[in-house]
Amino acid sequence: EAGVTQFPSHSVIEKGQTVTLRCDPISGHDNLYWYRRVMGKEIKFLLHFVKESKQDESGMPNNRFLAERTGGTYSTLKVQPAELEDSGVYFCASSQDRVAAFFGQGTRLTVV
């Protein structure tokens, strides 16, 4: 069974540009989460989808971040326009129950 897959694994963009991260959860998992780790600190919650609906987006930093989950399958996280402080590793996780158990390998975003 395939795990949680994230694309791309690395992205380097200039300040002001747009970047879109993609996450393919484990098949059948209704719950999908986005997290971010900045500068080797703790992993912080961004938002939670249940199927295609946003259940909790309390961790989204600001309106430059937009997350979608088309048809309740894969999810995208768009940052527009990117700022220097957006650099970090973005993790996606999925689960059948409400406690995220399976994480993807992460996308390392560097804004220069």
């Binding site: 719950n31 989460y33 997290y35 703790e42 409400r98 992460g106």
Partner: protein
């Protein structure tokens, strides 16, 4: 305000000995706790969990202890192996909530051969 804290950034242990990783939390609404292991350039991997109705959960070499009155949990690894060298994250959740995880800062464990 950090709700989950891992006060030891690093820990070094000899192979075969016990590793004890600690975690403290402040939110009394947390009712489910997890430990994740993370290797460089990989995502966190679920290791073991414990519900607040228990005080101990064991899985092979890994045991998690929960002290609710002290708001403290610990992960014991015995015997420690070099392959256990990784960053360990403690996480907590209010399962009645969205199920989002609140993570600690992580502890880097090095097991020396």
């Amino acid at each position: 305000d950090q709700q989950v804290k891992q006060n030891s950034p690093s820990l070094s242990v000899q192979e075969g000995r016990i590793s004890i990783l600690n975690c403290d939390y402040t939110n009394s609404m947390f009712d489910y706790f997890l430990w994740y292991k993370k290797y460089p350039a990989e995502g966190p991997t679920f290791l073991i969990s414990i519900s607040s109705i228990k005080d101990k959960n064991e899985d092979g070499r890994f045991t998690v202890f929960l002290n609710k009155s002290a708001k403290h949990l610990s992960l014991h690894i015995v015997p420690s192996q070099p392959g256990d060298s990784a960053v360990y994250f403690c996480a907590a959740s209010e399962t009645s909530n969205t199920g989002k995880l609140i993570f600690g800062q992580g502890t880097t464990l090095q097991v020396k051969p």
